[in-house]
């Protein structure tokens, strides 16, 4: 048995450290550590409730709108207001733009460059993939970055800027866009479709959203080999390296339900049990955060009753992240969970038998891009520039509420308690807190820690690309994890 420490771990949001026990050339046990703690849950206490809208986006620069949406949802529940239809649509559009930008950043900037590592020299695809995806230097970033910047004009037009806008409020959004700005949104969403259909998919969005099973996916990959497309290039690598067998996860998959601006969510909420193939409702009352392996004091508690107190000398702890559990069990969240819970046949088929995996996580993320881009076109069409975007929200002096949303990386929850017009308690569980949770009091590892077990590292040890693929397939956001 050899113990390896991996870090700094880059091309993720933030930093993380892995400790791997390796035996017979494969990972026998893994521990993941969140090395940064800023203390947002302490910073929020004592402030006026609406000040959360200025503070929480700054938890995370890559999922800033998601943090705003969770706080706005919690305050909305506390105040009992409902935004007018335009406000819900505008917030969903901005949120969708951020989420698609994040998915694209993950694929092009964070995940694909690992296939350009020297370890893969000699593979038939290596030279073409290196020319395309080499970090910073490859041609793909030159295509992606201008397209991504244009996509985020959606947030600029509707909310002033990205990241860290103060436009997302309990009563709606603060900018009533006029007809001209609405037409700019039409143009921006059309440019997104053009990038996706020419560069990422080399196929119509509808065709990507309709891919029904692994056979259709294979046919898509092979048919695209002549006409190009970065998605198909990935699929061919995934076949060669058998990424469907890598990074297996067997926990339940959870989604709080996504894009609720129009009432019914675009992607429904639920918990998918891989053993039975059934979806049950999310029982929020069954969420606990366990601090056994965190440098934090306190026992397991529901986030509406929990607190956050550093205990840096705590024996046995190995990071700043708490370990959230749903009815005592770890769960995996993210685009794959959202699509599986929503019932997308392709997503269900890709985890059938062996559980979640690197291929399924990446495919679900990109198919979700196609599905959300199509929804954005409908939402822009539904905006009514003659109608209001926000409604008055009354001040609130005493309340307890939660705001549960889906960020790009998965389920994000804020729990707020307001007393005498001030925030008395504020707790946050971010997607990567679920996915990269440490061990709990029963010694049960978190989803990533489980998914790494069995990964073959061979003679490369800590430097094996397989480790990089498994970790990055979750698209971790470490600044959110311990916040």
């Amino acid at each position: 048995m050899t113990r390896l420490v991996v870090g700094p771990f880059n091309r993720v949001e933030g930093d993380l450290e892995l400790t791997l026990d390796v035996a017979d050339g494969a990972v026998a046990a893994a521990r993941v550590s969140a090395p940064l703690f800023r203390g947002f849950e302490r910073i929020l206490v004592g402030r006026p409730p609406e000040d959360a809208l200025a503070i929480v986006p700054r938890i995370c620069g890559i999922c800033s709108v998601s943090q705003s949406m969770a706080a706005a949802a919690a305050l909305r529940a506390a105040m009992g207001v409902t935004p007018p239809p335009n406000g819900g649509l505008a917030a969903d559009l901005a949120h969708a733009a951020e989420n698609i930008a994040d998915h694209l950043s993950h694929f092009y900037l964070f995940f694909m460059p690992d296939f350009c590592r020297a370890e893969y020299a000699g593979r038939p695809w290596f030279e073409a993939i290196t020319a395309r995806f080499k970090a910073v230097e490859g041609s793909a970033a030159g295509d992606l970055l201008p397209a991504r910047a244009r996509l985020l004009h959606v947030v600029g037009i509707l909310a002033g800027k990205w990241p860290h806008a103060l436009a997302f409020r309990p009563g709606g959004t603060t900018r009533a866009v006029d007809l001209g700005e609405t037409m700019r949104l039409v143009a921006t969403v059309a440019q997104l479709r053009r990038f996706l259909e020419r560069t990422l998919f080399a196929a119509p969005l509808d065709a990507v959203a309709a891919l029904a099973d692994p056979a259709a996916l294979n046919a898509f990959a092979e048919a695209s080999s002549s006409r190009g497309g970065d998605f198909a290039a990935f699929l061919r690598i995934a076949g060669d390296l058998d990424l469907q067998s890598l990074g297996r996860g067997t926990t339940a998959l959870m989604s709080y339900g996504a894009y609720r601006g129009g009432g019914e969510p675009l992607f429904r909420a639920g918990v998918f049990d891989p053993a039975t193939g059934e979806v049950r409702p999310v029982a929020g009352a069954d969420i606990r955060e366990d601090t056994s392996s965190a440098w934090l004091a306190g026992g397991p508690a529901h986030p509406a009753e929990a607190d956050t107190h550093p205990a840096p000398d705590k024996p046995g702890a190995y990071g700043w992240s708490k370990a959230p559990r749903l009815a005592g069990e770890p769960v995996e969240v993210g685009a794959l969970a959202r699509q599986v819970v929503d019932g997308l046949p392709l997503a269900r088929a890709l985890i059938d038998g062996g559980g979640s995996n690197v291929l399924a996580r990446v495919v679900a993320r990109l198919v979700e891009v196609a599905r959300v881009a199509l929804a954005m076109e409908r939402w822009v069409g539904a905006l009514d520039p003659g109608q209001p975007f926000s409604t008055a929200a009354p001040p609130v002096s005493d309340a307890a509420a939660d705001g549960l949303v889906e960020a790009a990386r998965g389920s994000l929850g804020h729990w707020i308690t307001i007393q005498d017009g001030e925030i008395a308690r504020y707790q946050i569980i971010s997607p990567t807190t679920w996915n990269f949770s440490p061990r709990d009091s029963a010694g049960v590892p978190g989803p990533l820690e489980q998914a790494l077990v069995g990964t073959a590292v061979g003679e490369r040890g800590a430097g094996a690309a397989a480790i990089q693929h498994v970790v990055r397939s979750f698209d971790p956001c470490m600044v959110c994890t311990a916040h």
């Binding site: 991996v6 870090g7 700094p8 771990f9 880059n10 091309r11 949001e13 933030g14 930093d15 450290e17 090395p35 940064l36 800023r38 203390g39 302490r42 910073i43 006026p48 609406e50 809208l53 200025a54 503070i55 700054r58 620069g61 890559i62 800033s64 900037l109 590592r117 080499k134 970090a135 910073v136 970033a141 992606l144 970055l145 201008p146 910047a149 004009h153 947030v155 600029g156 037009i157 509707l158 002033g160 800027k161 990205w162 990241p163 860290h164 103060l166 436009a167 409020r169 709606g172 959004t173 603060t174 900018r175 009533a176 006029d178 550093p310 840096p312 975007f389 926000s390 800590a462 600044v479």
Partner: protein, 336 residues
């Protein structure tokens, strides 16, 4: 920019990564632009291929002075907590705190740049009660000194260059780096808080699309209304530096254009505002008045302009869109 490249190392201390994300808001694509400018990222945590031991080796070579470094760019505050240990942030794989690493690397860099208000002054990471004892590189909130001390100067003789903002405009970052690479930024180019004057010699108020409402003190009273945000809704644009309203943010118009207050994010200590979107008042008069305006004059002018407010401006101020359009000049431009 033929010839030598300007080599920069970017490290993320205690922040949200938003400064990096904001930097990607470049029409031409950031990487192509930096290449054209001759600026090379020796390593950036979000973009570079190198990971793990390759990074540890690079940092060690810089620290020993074997690898020259033109600029050290720090994003995020430096955490000294808990209890002065710095253990609130370790760099993974090194067993060392970011506190120790930044202190060790700063003297080796040609220049030190704080990207964003956290690295500059502590920012939101230092927000009250400042749980992890955060500081900026050379300021702790409004106090000169910070992590590196008031005597610190980079090898090029400059104090820490503070690209304040939460997050800063991508142009502020790219233009500052371009100026540093060209040797065009000297101490006179920085204001008293270390901010490059090319953006800090303006007020965020300059160019605000609500200027006519400001002139007449026709104020919005609720989020979403078109009027001036200063009197009731917390806007600090008349007291905060930055050419914010003279630039495009994410292809849109920026904070005040989008209907919410300037929260003074380029200023030390902005994170400790209570009531970001509510204007504190004493006897009905806003406490925070424009930086260099005598209070009595402001009150007199406000009273005068309020009494002269046209109905168009007054009615539009309390609506979420223009309800009374301006009457245009007659066709042909002439009278009659």
């Amino acid at each position: 920019m033929a010839g030598r490249t300007f080599e920069v190392l970017w490290l993320q201390a205690a922040g949200c990564g938003g400064c990096t994300m904001a930097l990607l808001d470049r029409d031409a694509g950031l990487f192509d632009e930096l290449r054209a400018l001759g600026i090379r990222l020796l390593w950036h945590p979000s973009f570079s291929e190198e990971t793990g031991s390759a990074v540890v080796d690079l940092l060690a070579a810089i620290e020993r002075g074997e690898r020259p470094l033109d600029a050290l760019l720090i994003e995020g505050a430096v955490l000294r907590g808990p209890h002065g240990t710095g253990l609130a942030q370790r760099l993974a794989g090194t067993g060392r705190t970011m506190l120790e690493i930044v202190r060790a690397l700063a003297p080796r860099a040609g220049c030190c740049v704080a990207v964003g208000s956290c690295a500059a002054y502590g920012g939101v990471s230092a927000a009250s009660p400042d749980p992890m004892e955060a500081t900026g590189l050379q300021f702790e909130k409004d106090f000169f000194g910070g992590l590196l001390g008031s005597d610190f100067r980079s090898r090029n003789g400059l104090p820490v260059v503070n690209i304040a903002g939460c997050a800063p405009h991508s142009g502020w970052v790219v233009e500052t780096l371009t100026a540093l690479a060209a040797g065009a930024l000297d101490a006179d180019g920085l204001d008293a808080h270390g901010r490059p004057r090319f953006f800090a010699d303006h007020l965020a108020h300059h160019g605000c699309s609500r200027n006519e409402f400001y002139e007449y003190k026709a104020s919005a009273t609720a989020a979403g209304e078109r009027g001036c945000l200063m009197e009731h809704l917390g806007c600090k644009a008349t007291q905060s530096v930055g050419d914010c309203n003279q630039r495009s943010w994410s292809g849109g118009g920026g904070c005040t254009h989008a209907g919410y207050a300037c929260i003074a994010c380029t200023s030390p200590g902005f994170e400790d505002i209570r009531g970001f979107t509510t204007t504190p008042k004493v006897a009905g008069i806003p406490v925070g008045l424009p930086l260099d305006m005598p209070k009595a004059w402001f009150i007199a002018l406000a009273a005068l302009s309020k009494s002269a407010t046209p109905r168009r401006v007054r009615d539009n101020a309390s609506a979420d869109r223009t309800v009374v359009p301006p009457r245009g000049a007659p066709p042909g431009g002439g009278a009659g």
